[in-house]
């Protein structure tokens, strides 16, 4: 893997600006869902109907725990959600800083081998997370 720092090129799609604001919007929507009870869906009926939790089971609890500083609980409730939320927040800070302070942008290049490894690891990690949720007895 090779990471480089460079300024954005005129005419290039400004990914940091786009995804920074998208993530900010997602966070804002999430906070609204937490506060406005009638907007929330009720508990998971997939689990109630089949006994098997869906892949996102525990996401809300993980994020709640993370926001309260209970990192261990957050990782237990939903590891990927906790890591994803933290990574999303870190990216948000980077993206908005890079955009508005005109900082250099991080660009990552992968070798063919690394790209193949990433392609295969995504479904494997998602499956492992789901198996953990089932074994954990949600």
């Amino acid at each position: 893997m090779r990471a480089t720092l460079r300024h954005s090129v005129p005419g290039e799609v400004d990914h940091e600006r786009i995804w920074g604001w998208i993530i900010a919007g997602l966070f804002a929507a999430g906070l609204l869902l937490r506060e406005v009870q009638w907007l929330r869906p009720f508990s998971c009926l997939v689990r109630e109907a089949t006994g098997i939790p869906c892949l996102t089971c525990g996401t809300t609890r993980a994020i709640d725990a993370l926001l309260q500083g209970r990192i261990g609980d957050a990782l237990r409730f939903h590891t990927l959600a906790a890591i994803g939320f933290t990574a999303g927040f870190a990216y948000l800070v980077y993206a908005l800083s890079a955009t508005h302070l005109r900082l250099r942008r991080i660009r990552i290049e992968l070798t063919h081998k690394e790209a193949t490894w990433v392609r295969w690891s995504i479904p494997i990690v998602l499956t492992l997370q789901w198996v953990f949720l089932i074994i954990d007895g949600r």
Binding site: V13, C54, E109, T111, T116, R119
Partner: protein
């Protein structure tokens, strides 16, 4: 080239450097894709309504030809404006349908259909949310699709190409929801079809990879109950509003 070396920037690099436009290695034959990509009518000169209507017609009734001619790059502004207009018009009409339907239901049975906000306030909120939700949907949806294409090695052109397909597809099919009763269902079926065709011709990839990129996120959303719940509420609310 050994697998642990970084690919040269002039070679095909679909996933390795998503910021570098790669050369095409897709499934669309050269005879189908050697025509000039001068863009849909929306990106040509001419009267506003004529350009909008001809582009919408092309996407809905001749998506293959439309997306064969669509420019892969050239700015996100023009397609974004097209999608915004189509989505906004559809959204306003949907909000009007919902307003009158909720008025009717509230008159029939005020207790059962009591809402946190009155129909007028709901209409204003609904209309106010349209621009934000459109912008969010276009970029987030395109991002998810492009990631899926990268996963399946189907992204032979950069993110802007995927974005253009999504926005033109949605901006056109959104207008189907204006038809009362069956509009939402028709859009639910035809929008993915048009997007799959568009992605396959614009990204120069196979129909199979384009279909996987489009249909897997939809299937996962429906399988996850939280996603299904949100989706079902939105569909039912939209459908009831169109009755």
């Amino acid at each position: 080239m050994a697998q642990d070396e970084f690919p040269d920037h002039h070679e095909d690099t679909d996933f390795d450097n998503p910021f570098q436009p790669p050369s095409s290695t897709g499934a669309i034959s050269a005879t189908e894709d050697d025509g000039e990509r001068n863009g849909p009518p929306w990106e040509q000169d001419g009267p506003f309504l004529s350009r909008f209507w001809n582009t919408t017609k092309g996407v809905l009734f001749d998506p293959k030809e439309t997306f064969l001619r669509m420019r892969r790059e050239g700015g996100m502004g023009p397609p974004l404006l097209f999608g915004f207009i189509g989505g906004f018009v559809a959204g306003i009409v949907g909000a009007v349908y919902s307003y009158f339907y909720m008025q009717y239901l509230t008159t029939l049975d005020p207790e059962t259909f009591q809402q946190p906000f009155g129909p007028t306030a709901q209409f204003v909120l609904q209309v106010g949310f349209i621009p934000v939700s459109l912008i969010f949907f276009f970029f987030f949806g395109s991002g998810i699709l492009h990631l899926m294409l990268l996963l399946f090695k189907g992204a032979n052109h950069p993110f802007q190409t995927t974005f253009r397909v999504v926005v033109y597809a949605y901006g056109s099919t959104a207008l189907m929801t204006i038809v009362p009763g069956i509009g939402n269902l028709a859009q639910f079926i035809w929008a993915p079809v048009v997007t799959i065709i568009g992605l396959s011709y614009a990204q120069n990839t196979s129909i199979g990879k384009a279909a996987a990129a489009v249909l897997i996120p939809i299937a996962l959303t429906l399988l996850c109950f939280c996603g299904f719940f949100i989706f079902a509420v939105a569909m039912i609310a939209g459908q009831l509003g169109n009755v």
